[in-house]
Subunit: 297 residues, 2 copies
């Protein structure tokens, strides 16, 4: 049970966590901090937070749980402001889609004791929408949350953060930060970059109206993630540079092989590749849970 | 009104067309031709066709409408068998996802008068599933059908094919074969190749179980089309080689630029690109019609 929860950044994820914890009766008071006044106002009107603050120090006062839910690129500044203000009664966690760079930011900004109260986290849930208006109390239902505690992270803090996410309906897994970043670069960051790159390439063509007009459901689903928040994804690309670049290079090399096969009319190679991909997808990719929203990150 | 409809290939598209026309009362008798006996048997059991034939000549006897709904790679053989059997009472159309190569095949196999009764077509509808079991009577509802008549195609034949598709619930557009192939390479063929290539790349990694296990809805939707029929897509890649290769090269070049921007930490470039893509998608890509199945091609 959380007495006072401070959510730094009341967007899709921060707002949905607030709503899920409220529904679960897992929190007494929720204060939201943000910069976008319209969004903050909406968060109060929707009852997502009890109170909104544009002053970070006021927002976190007496909070026993602080959830940092801003884009990764804005986290350094937040950690700097939290430094010196994390007491033994406060636990801090984040929801960033990359973990090693967030851990580095937190380690540099916070004192050692403060850092031990910081539990790096990443909910594998979201939609292509953003802002508190898109938040939903069931966003984490049946979704996975990754926690990436460091060797010097306080085990009690980890358990408290785990309990919070479980109260939101999610299941929690421990994966170290480096492995997280490699796996998520493959399952999430690379597909987002490919979707953005494809749509951007097409819209720059003279015949883009006709292309989009003749696009059907396959294209719509393939490019859904290209409607995601550009700030968030710019930050992820910059923060997870190494794993993402490596995968982009692999993918680019593979595309070269596909092109060679098409050029050569090598139907057998194409057939084997497509068949292997289809089999993999049908074997490993879980179908959409009917009781859960489509999720992106 | 069609007296006898012969559908060559009772899969997702052929089966769905049969069901849609039956529901609309637009056809008297439907005969299905196919090679897969289990699928043919199912088509009869489901009531999709009145009769199944494994002999093409028997299937098309007295048919006033023949719909060729086999993968593009199997069409040459079908056209060869139709040659000499298309009377002035018969109209032939196809549902292939590429048009110039199908037109070439038909022109080479058929006599000039026969060719004038062939109306090249492509329904922009489908799902990642295949076979008559996946067919549905509302597959074409609110979807577009492209017809690509040649200068020597009989206008009356075009109108009869148009009427057939409109009876199935679709709307019909005329686009010439070459333009069709360029536009569809962009809106459909390229995304399919990218989805197959991505899933294939990932499944060959040692950590593929963890990658797929941590994939969320974004990945699921992005890769849905990688569950499509490999034979169909191999044929499309081979048949639409030139436009597809050109787009793959463009995309590969663009990926190089994305990689350079990530390497350089050029957040502004990434932000502009992602923002442009998001704006394009939200402006031009139609949301999923709630009364219509997800469609792929």
């Amino acid at each position: 049970m959380i007495n006072k929860l401070a959510i730094i950044g009341i967007g899709l994820i921060g707002g949905s966590l607030a709503r899920a914890l409220r529904r679960a009766g897992h929190v007494q008071e929720i204060v939201g901090f943000g910069r976008n006044l319209n969004n903050l106002k909406l968060a109060v009107e929707m009852g997502v937070v009890d109170r909104a603050e544009v002053n970070l120090v006021a927002a976190i006062e007496d909070a026993d749980m602080i959830v940092v839910a801003v884009p990764v690129g804005a986290m350094t500044e937040i950690f700097s402001q939290l430094a010196g203000r994390i007491t033994r009664e406060t636990i801090v966690t984040d929801v960033g889609s990359v973990k090693t760079s967030v851990v580095t930011m937190a380690r540099e900004a916070l004192g050692a004791t403060e850092f031990s109260r910081f539990v790096p986290g990443h909910p594998i849930a979201g939609t292509e929408q953003s802002g508190v208006a898109a938040s939903r109390e069931d966003l984490f239902q049946n979704h996975q949350i990754i926690l990436s505690p460091e060797p010097d992270t306080d085990p009690g803090a980890v358990e408290t953060v785990r309990a919070m996410w479980e109260a939101s309906g999610a299941s929690v897994r421990m994966i170290d930060a480096q492995q997280h970043d490699i796996v998520l670069a493959a399952s999430s960051h690379l597909p987002h970059v490919l979707a953005y790159a494809l749509v951007d390439m097409l819209v720059r063509r003279d015949d883009h109206r006709e292309i989009f007009d003749l696009a059907a459901g396959g294209f719509r689903d393939f490019t859904r993630i290209a409607s995601s928040d550009p700030t968030m994804w710019r930050d992820i690309c910059v923060a997870n540079r190494e794993p993402l670049l490596k995968l982009l290079q692999n993918f680019s090399d593979d595309l070269g092989e596909v092109m060679a096969a098409i050029e050569a009319g090598n139907g057998e190679w194409l057939m084997n590749t497509f068949e292997r991909a289809r089999h993999a997808r049908e074997t490993y990719v879980k179908p959409a849970p009917s009781d859960s929203p489509d999720s992106v990150e």
